[in-house]
Symmetry: C2
Subunit: 279 residues, 2 copies
Amino acid sequence: MRLDTLSVTRSHGGTQHVVKHRSDATGTDMTFSVFVPPQADEGALCPVIWYLSGLTCTHANVTEKGEYRRACAELGLIFVAPDTSPRGPDVPDDPAYDFGQGAGFYLDATEEPFARDYRMDSYLSSELPAVIEHTFPADLSRQGVTGHSMGGHGALTLALREPDRYRSVSAFAPIVAPSQVPWGQKALSRYLGPDPSGWRRHDAVALIEDGARVPEILVDQGTSDDFLERELRPELLANACSEAGIPLTLRMQQGYDHSYYFISTFMADHLRWHAERLG
Amino acid sequence: MRLDTLSVTRSHGGTQHVVKHRSDATGTDMTFSVFVPPQADEGALCPVIWYLSGLTCTHANVTEKGEYRRACAELGLIFVAPDTSPRGPDVPDDPAYDFGQGAGFYLDATEEPFARDYRMDSYLSSELPAVIEHTFPADLSRQGVTGHSMGGHGALTLALREPDRYRSVSAFAPIVAPSQVPWGQKALSRYLGPDPSGWRRHDAVALIEDGARVPEILVDQGTSDDFLERELRPELLANACSEAGIPLTLRMQQGYDHSYYFISTFMADHLRWHAERLG
């Protein structure tokens, strides 16, 4: 396991790492960031929060703009921010911002030409956790997952498929039902093929309809988010949770948009919520 | 007074504005950001913190990475981040990162070809405050100033020249004695001419030696800052303050570098410090 440490920077009493490594899952170099809180200096193994980013993002967006370090330092949380897709000149891409590189949708593609590289589900479910556990003082018995927009979709679907692994889940302005909205239909059909029955394990609402369960969910959603009605549609998640008996805290945040100005505002709330559940 | 509002975004309960306007002082378009805290919604006039950025920065660096909004929202502070120089194809520039556009050093240049546009002192001392007072719920009887690196130099020198205007002053890793360090010698000689006696009102240590006084100063400085020994030299400020009887709180922060990871860590401390002094 060879890792290239791109930077290690003191911040908020802990240490912000940016690391590049060769991924077996994607067959490409992948870059991620990890914040290690000061509690680790005293030898503690710390719970891990996975933050999955939205369309077009890399690890850098939340690392620079997410305002998570102060709360992670207070709460003793390791914060991991992976990239959103494989990248590189040999990785199939698309000129659109919402497909291809920067838009991996946290699944393993089955369709050509994407099947070889677009394996973010495998990357996040097994390869990267092993890297984190090997390299940082991480307690993988205490993992929570959150994310934004496409990354909110990733967080919800990963947690619904593996509720024993992710003991807490939240999301910022998530895509909750990709099978029912343009961003998702475009991505799922091209990564997974035209048959919507193959999309259901990558759709939070469909997973819940099919019996997947998590103990509870926290979602913040801005009311001035340009993507609210067409792409995000939190009411679909609210209905599914209601029918399934999953406690959903859905907070409609007045006047907030889809940007990191919104995410950073509620980041500390989410981290406290996870910390309470991860012990 | 014509202002172009480039964006208005809800964040941390307040509103982050980015504004462009034509500056009479510089003869160019200038862009700045202003965070207005929620207290303004109830009609309160709020104290103003000026944040002056370092070499190469625009308003955007601190606006994205500074992590000031939460504390400003709690404390009821307006936070203004100006650009670091005039900019544009007609503005004299230099290929170096530490001179010309992005490196205005918060002075009015007297040398050609810079004298026409490089008038950041006039811009910050009179033009921009009038814009802020006219446009935002700002109480200009309560202004504090802070900044980073070259902007720390700006904050210290503006406050030392106008202690009645800026009732509180702090800095992050400031250039404290530009006359004595390479960054400053290069900039001051080319903006102000070769005679160092003309540089003294743009040098915090020289201003103090020449009798300028402020009630007290807060400075944070990382011990792992690559520019510490060659460009920043906080001991020169410590000596000058000691001889002048100016209470200086100089905090050497173990392991911190010169980046926004450092600034954002101590931003809330500085804002609280200013708020206590601005009432």
